[in-house]
């Protein structure tokens, strides 16, 4: 029982990272209807930005901010440079999806050229594990979970209670209708991608903190798990994605803890395929397509 609770504790850490990453992915999807295959690279770039800051003596907070900024700028660049141009010209979802795969290849290899393909790690120590109730967490892991909850709450407020959030919801439901109602859909989409990039970049930082090392390819591997969470929750739906992230994160830790961590990715995809085949629109679907359901 005790061991199960410990595993649950680790699962919550993974779930926190995964939820943030999946939320960012879902935000991107909701406003452009494009599954962004270069989403993993937003995380990777975040991790490297934080690394650079730490190399110059920055602390955890500064690293986190740098990671978010790097991810945000990248997401904005991918949106304005590629995705938006494709969407505006009416190039369909699948070709744009393929294009983002090309973008992912480009970013990965730029990172390989700049930093090399080898694994890197942060210098800031994790802190000793401490007992919190039945769980065993390090300071870093507590920071990860607390920040994830804060960011999710902030995101909820932004989407539900600001003017921008209202436009975001409008664009995600029906882009053309939003436009004729006087919403600058391109601007809203760009800002949404920026927001998603901020979250994704930070997720990349805490992912690297939690795993300990990162490489130009680590974002892409984690993206595959992100995809599982996002699709399980229903593409483009924030609450579903959040729940999907938590479920998949915990399930992965239990699978890794009790069976074999090497097959984590395979396990994630087994879940993904099952969900897609049985409930292709996500586990928690209602009828309408909307970011808050």
């Amino acid at each position: 029982m005790h061991e199960a609770l410990l595993t649950l504790g680790f699962g919550l850490v993974t779930a926190a990272i995964l939820s943030l990453s999946a939320l960012a992915f879902t935000l991107e999807y909701s406003v452009t209807n494009v599954a962004n295959l270069s989403h993993g690279e937003i995380l990777t770039v975040g991790a490297y930005c934080a690394y650079l800051v730490q190399q110059h003596g920055g602390g955890v907070i500064l690293s986190g901010l740098a990671a978010a900024a790097g991810g945000g700028l990248l997401a904005l660049a991918v949106h304005n440079g590629v995705v938006d141009r494709f969407v505006r010209r009416g190039i369909g979802g699948l070709p744009t999806f393929i294009a983002t795969l090309g973008v992912s290849l480009v970013i990965q290899n730029i990172l390989v050229i700049i930093f090399g393909a080898a694994n890197l790690g942060y210098t800031v120590p994790q802190g000793a594990p401490r007992t919190v109730g039945p769980f065993l967490w390090t300071d870093t892991e507590i920071q990860i979970m607390v920040s994830a909850v804060v960011i999710t709450a902030l995101l909820y407020v932004i989407i539900q209670h600001t003017r921008f959030g209202k436009s975001l919801r409008a664009v995600s439901q029906n882009r053309s209708l939003a436009r004729v109602s006087g919403i600058n859909a391109n601007r809203v989409a760009a800002l949404t991608w920026l927001l998603a990039g901020l979250i994704g970049g930070y997720a990349g930082f805490i992912l690297a903190e939690s795993v300990g090392t990162f490489s130009p390819y680590s974002g892409f591997s984690f993206f595959l798990i992100t995809l599982t969470a996002a699709v399980a929750g229903g593409l483009g739906k924030a609450v579903g994605t959040l729940v999907g992230g938590i479920i998949v994160g915990i399930a992965l830790e239990f699978f890794g803890g009790y069976l074999s961590a090497s097959y984590n990715l395979a396990f994630a995809f087994a879940i993904l395929s099952l969900v897609i085949l049985v409930r292709p629109r996500g586990l928690f679907v209602g009828g309408r397509r909307s970011i808050f359901e």
């Binding site: 795969l101 480009v106 290899n109």
Partner: protein, 337 residues
């Protein structure tokens, strides 16, 4: 110099075979399959375990036979087709578009994980090696003449594959596949069995991919998870897209440009200290950029797929393009005949 040319051409022919296989799945049938390199890899792995003999400790792998190369290749192709049959049967049943792509991406990552982690299968991360100069002894070739023989073999196989896919392309099956790609519902309304046709195309394409993988194994003489990654499929997609999606000649041209051409173009890049991966990384960056630019500005590729003609001699119809202008179409047709 000549050795270098031989190796580039051999590699190019092998990649062209793989790309022709993928072109059936994506170019004709219209399914963006991300699992494709898994079938290539399985073909390579199977060829190795069927030819290199029993495993000696500490290596472990399945089978470990010493079959002649051609038989091993045939079995490798069949195993790739069987795997494609399983994956395709599940994924093609209901899924299209990005959902199909995501599930196939999942399938290939499962295969990749097992190839890398499950040691009894293909010796895990260290992979397999030991297939030296297949059929070299049979033809009494030494190591100087062997590369020429293997190049010849690959080119002959490429020509056979090209001939077969060209026949297939103009067949009723090939034409019907295009109709699925353009409008699945309309094709279904004309009585096409969508699922079975797409599955057939998928399995045939994967078989050709497995054949490419088998030749690749013979060329490399070894195969391990660091020699391939699922992302490799993108290079094949870039080649197809640049050449002309759906067009066989285009695909061969695309491979010449994207695989051999890029290799040549980046050959004289300066070596950077501590950066052995600079040239390959730079090549992949170029591949990605070209992929994006072609999707945006020239999705039909350099040698676009030709519009199909109505071959019925009794019909007065011209080409699909001329449908709106019957007179011009008819004149053009007589001129061509």
């Amino acid at each position: 110099m000549i050795d270098y040319l031989v190796s580039v051409l051999t590699e190019g022919s092998i990649f062209a075979i793989m790309a022709l296989g993928l072109n059936i799945i994506w170019g004709w049938s219209g399914d963006f399959d991300l699992a494709f390199y898994g079938y290539v890899a399985l073909g390579a792995y199977m060829t190795l375990v069927l030819t290199i003999g029993p495993a000696t400790s500490p290596t472990t792998y399945i089978l470990g036979l010493s079959l002649p190369f051609p038989i091993a290749v045939a079995i490798a192709v069949i195993s790739s087709m069987l795997l494609a049959l399983i994956v395709g049967a599940i994924a093609l049943r209901h899924l299209r578009g990005i959902y199909f792509s995501i599930v196939t991406l999942g399938a290939v990552y499962v295969l990749y994980t097992f190839a890398g982690q499950f040691v009894p299968l293909f010796n895990g991360y260290n992979g397999l090696s030991g297939l030296f100069d297949p059929m070299g002894d049979f033809f009494n070739l030494d190591f100087t003449s062997y590369p020429f023989f293997y190049l010849g073999l690959c080119v002959v196989v490429l020509c056979v594959v090209l001939f077969l896919v060209t026949r297939l392309s103009g067949s009723r099956f090939g034409l019907a596949l295009r109709s699925l790609r353009e409008d699945e519902r309309a094709a279904a309304a004309f009585g096409r069995g969508i699922y079975v046709m797409k599955l057939k195309a998928y399995v045939i394409g994967a078989g050709i991919g497995g054949l490419g993988g088998a030749l690749f194994a013979g060329y490399l003489s070894a195969f391990n998870p660091s020699a391939w990654s699922p992302v490799e499929t993108i290079v094949l997609y870039a080649a197809i897209l640049v050449g002309g999606r759906g067009s066989n000649r285009g695909v061969v041209l695309g491979v010449a440009v994207m695989v051999m051409g890029l290799q040549e173009a980046t050959r004289y890049l300066p070596e950077i200290a501590n950066q052995p991966s600079f040239a390959p990384a730079f090549r992949l960056i170029l591949t990605g950029v070209i992929l994006v630019l072609f999707i945006r500005f020239r999705p039909q590729g350099l040698l676009p797929e030709r519009r199909l003609r109505d071959k019925d001699p009794a019909g007065t119809g011209g080409t699909a393009v001329a449908a709106g202008n019957a007179v011009a179409g008819a004149t053009l047709d007589t001129g061509a005949a």
